[in-house]
Amino acid sequence: MNEMSILDPVLLIAIPLGLAFLIPLLGLVSKKIVRWIPVVGFLFNGIVALLILPHVLKQPIIVKIGGFVPPFGINLYAGSVGMLLASLIAITGFLVSIYAVKYITKGAEQKYHILFLLLLTGATGVVLTGDIFNLFVFFEILCISSYALVAYLGTRSGLEASIKYLIQGSIGSSFLLIGIGLLYGQFGTLNMADLARQIVDYTEPSVFVSMVFMITGLGIEAAIFPLNAWLPDAHSSAPSSVSAVLSGIAIEVGLYAVIRVLFTIFAVSNFFIFFMVLGVLTVLIGEMSAFAQKNIKRMLAYSSIGQIGLIVFAFSISTQLGVAGGLFQMVSHTLGKALLFLCAGYMIFRTGSMEISSLEGIGKKMPITALCFTIGTFSIVGLPPFTGFASKFMIIRAALANGELLLQILIGLVLVGTIIEGAYFFKIIQTIYFKGAHKTDNREEAPVTALIPMLILVSFIIVIGMFPNIIDKVLQPAASELLDQVKYIGSVLG
């Protein structure tokens, strides 16, 4: 326990928060040092999360904030899922903040770094918390910082996107709050485990209505199909480093929240069929919309919708394999999409335009970036030997292992989506390498601070893709944790 008190999961939230509060002070001392604060914070977080991760695989750590016993105080539930995502957030945050050191030059830099730090802190809070109102609060931290970050550049498109995002997002949070209020009114508690213990039948109208409000609210951030209209705007207009985090982390965290609510609090069963169909719909609409895009970041954003659909589908299978596959797909999407956005960031920066046609010949101009981009697309499409393949493999396996006809049809549709995805991504690759006249030979490679994160992400993608066993050891306990409601209740309430 002594060792564990040093490695308390609450540090993952407290330290970045403290650092965020510290930034304005440090900003008075030196402008340069501020840039490195998020790097330091996420490095710390990454190390702590990775150190804690092995401990939670068997038994989750319950952190009682303020020392109050769970139903009465807020608790953090650092299980395998939470810690997996927390590590992912920390690692991605670390890499993206390195990238941002040189990338963010315009606007109020200091404020960017605070917002960025808080965005990911909010995300960490969401994945770790065990209390629905606390979830709401961290969710708001996540949302508000992303509203601000989307508008950070102050461009027309950024503002427009941010406003639309804000309107939809705040409706979402209001719905979430209504749902929480309804639940509190009925069960008199806000603790997830306590709620889960008291809710026996989710189909009961009163419970169902509150559940619907909650998942609608969370689903907006998770970008499930009819609720995702903000996503392409926001992800394409934000600075690329932010897009990377929004696509890589924010929507995944939203989805995590939806899944946590559905699995742990309500323990839904038949409802997942609806979600499954929704997931496939999300895949198809996302990929089909992406197909005709001319703006590269918008295309990537729509592709994120498609990927989210796939993850939703995987979770909805609600078997051990399916949930593990969904988590794996989350990981591979985070790595892949973050990489793509980071690469796209400098590609856009160098060409000065987001049009895909302007990327012609960039493969010569910035060979390493282009290579990283290519590997990212391969991973997202699901080509071996990259992570995307391993995760897709797991999901298809889960879908087929179930043996239901509906699932088989749906996975077929998902694969159709994958083919469309392949088509447009390969078109971009052609544009990068093979289109346009052989005009400029002068290299304008991205700076080292940008290349390092890209290359690290690439190495992650390749290593995990070739040796998925590394992550499978975490995925399996994580999946069983999500599926096992009784154990969750037991470990929180004792």
Binding site: A20, F21, L22, P24, G66, L115, F133, G154, L182
Partner: protein, 228 residues
């Protein structure tokens, strides 16, 4: 058309909510958790105001988040408005002497009152947020009454908001380090019930929050006033 669809959809939702509300009649229930707070709250936290004990102790983590949200909004506002450099001078009439003198006269009492509110957060229906809001209202008064003359000291407000936030976090971390080793643990002696120096860390946190909220709200006002 749009309105019709909207109304129909809202009616459906209203029907759903109605169904849900039937299980939670108005004005009767008090849940287990709430009972625990009311019955044991004053012993466990030492605060007379149970809401405060909930806000600062039982659900202190929420409050930390809440403070962060406010911080975020101030920062976000700054970030969004930062890129406007053109700050055109508007020819506004200078406030009359009576108005500006009155404002200056009222300013210290309002600040003092705000401070009173947040210091007595654990005893009375007040607290850091409320106190902070009152402090901000003093600044608002100054902006309205003495337009263009007095401005918020940027450095000072930055200091107070940062230090306020840091204080909250550090108190939490101290709780992790000492006593029962829980984050945001109320590690200080609870003192005599219903006196000013009681309820352990609650007043300290509330003071930090008060400074922070006051600074942040003032900053928001400052930014919005400046741009509009």
């Amino acid at each position: 058309m749009r309105k019709c669809i909207g109304i129909i959809l809202l009616i459906i939702i209203a029907w759903g909510i109605l169904t849900s509300l039937q299980t939670m009649p108005f004005g009767v229930s008090r849940a287990k958790v709430a009972n625990h707070y009311i019955n044991n709250g004053k012993d466990e936290t030492g605060a007379a105001n149970i809401v405060t004990s909930v806000v600062i102790n039982y659900r202190a983590f929420d409050t930390l988040g809440e403070v962060t949200v406010l911080f975020l909004s101030a920062i976000g506002l700054g970030a969004v408005l930062a890129t406007i450099k053109t700050r055109e001078k508007r020819d506004t009439e200078k406030a009359s002497l009576i108005l500006s003198t009155g404002c200056r006269f009222l300013f210290p009492p309002i600040i003092l009152f705000g401070a009173y509110i947040f210091i007595h957060g654990h005893l009375t229906p007040g607290g850091g947020f409320q106190g902070g809001a009152i402090i901000a209202s003093a600044f608002l008064l100054m902006y309205l009454g003495c337009h263009g003359e007095k401005r918020l000291n940027d450095r000072c407000s930055t200091f107070s908001e940062s230090l306020g936030g840091l204080a909250f976090v550090i108190i939490g971390l101290i709780g992790l380090a000492v006593g029962t080793h829980y984050f945001l643990n109320n590690f200080m002696p609870l003192g005599k019930f219903n006196t000013l120096l009681s309820a352990g860390v609650i007043p300290i946190i509330y003071i930090a929050i008060g400074f922070k909220v006051g600074a942040e709200l003032s900053k928001i006002i400052d930014l919005l006033m400046e741009e509009s």
